[in-house]
Symmetry: C2
Subunit: 197 residues, 2 copies
DNA sequence: TGTGTTATGGACTTATCGTTCCATATTTAG
DNA sequence: CTAAATATGGAACGATAAGTCCATAACACA
């Protein structure tokens, strides 16, 4: 496939992609210029175009990468968690930490993308919907584990609960980004968990 | 104050502002160009700059206008509602209608603005935080009315419940914008209401 | 009617955007 | 050592953005 002939790349595409993702996550698509990307990724314009095809294709790869990382991270967290319920609690509480992150609260890249593009770009809207369903599926696994462990009533619809958790996460991250303090977020989280009983 | 001397305006500033707000709500700040605004508002560039000062000041006035309209609309809805609880249910269910709106699901202009600017523009972040608190205050009134009517337990913290409702609304609107269908939204709404019991 | 005041339309300016292109550098295969 | 292939750096391009400026139009008042 990839011919091993010719001059070799002077950068690691994966590292560059990660840097681009961080930029888009912090500033959104429109507020990130090519210049910003070139600096963050530490490569030349030609290399960016040759390797990633341009700004928009790069962005879509970043959203995909983010989705993978988050879904995979949640899956691993669930595997290690002492119980499904505890995992869900930890998942919601982790939003509190984001506010103290060095980047500040950046929200969820997928939902940020939905806000920026869902209305105008059908292809990106499709990516977003797929990402959301991936998050939902992992959380549904957590709900079902909690049900099997007796921490959530078995008769509840696990898929709906998972949809609810995705929606709640999105709301919480938006509140955090909009300046809500820790006390407010904690209160919202506590109420959110009530719906699981 | 406003001198009534000189050539009179050929447009109604309030109508123009409403048109600008609809544009910003539909497309966001960056995706709305001056050209878009001039067409939507039906006025000349000079008039826009003279009357509104430029794109950013116009945008902030639009966000303020939106906040006023929503807060006032909620207040009137609450006054007419048969009960506090019923008002809250109607408030959440109204998000379902937005998806069938001729504009499509546009989310909440205030939260869209938070997503686009909270990280980079402190002044706008301040406006956003104020708007959120105004929404919260109206909803807190609804919660307290429901408590006095025996539909929500009196011992619950009405302010926290109101914060929770704001966050839930924001999450729901984001899900709607991201393509969630009516069934999914209804399920989330039903779960959201459980937290009030 | 004339003067001061504000509004309007449109040309113009300046900056920045994403993208393309080409000459040059660096590698592998034969 | 040569030729083919790929990567890189930087100049140049076309488009579009927001914002400014000025000549002209339309009013109120005296």
């Amino acid at each position: 496939m990839a011919a091993n002939i010719g001059r070799p790349l002077e950068f690691d595409p994966d590292t560059a992609l990660e840097a681009a993702m961080q930029q888009f996550w912090s500033k959104g698509y429109e507020h990130t210029s090519m210049q910003d990307l070139l600096v963050a990724m530490n490569l030349s314009k030609s290399s960016l175009y040759q390797t990633f095809g341009g700004k928009q294709p790069l962005f879509r790869r970043c959203v995909y990468r983010y989705t993978d990382q988050v879904a995979q991270g949640l899956g691993q967290g669930l595997a290690k968690a002492p119980s499904g319920r505890r995992f869900i609690e930890g998942f919601l509480n982790s939003i509190l930490k984001e506010a103290q992150d060095r980047h500040g609260p950046r929200g969820c890249l997928v939902m940020n993308t939905a806000t920026e593009f869902a209305q105008s770009e059908p292809e990106i809207a499709h990516d977003v919907a797929q990402s959301i369903d991936r998050f939902r599926d992992v959380l549904q696994g957590a709900v079902e584990r909690a049900q099997s462990e007796g921490e959530i009533p078995r008769e509840r619809d696990s898929q709906m609960l998972a949809n609810y958790l995705v929606s709640s996460m999105s709301g919480l991250k938006a509140q955090s980004k909009a300046g809500a303090d820790a006390a407010r977020l904690k209160g919202i989280i506590a109420l959110t968990l009530k719906a699981l009983d």
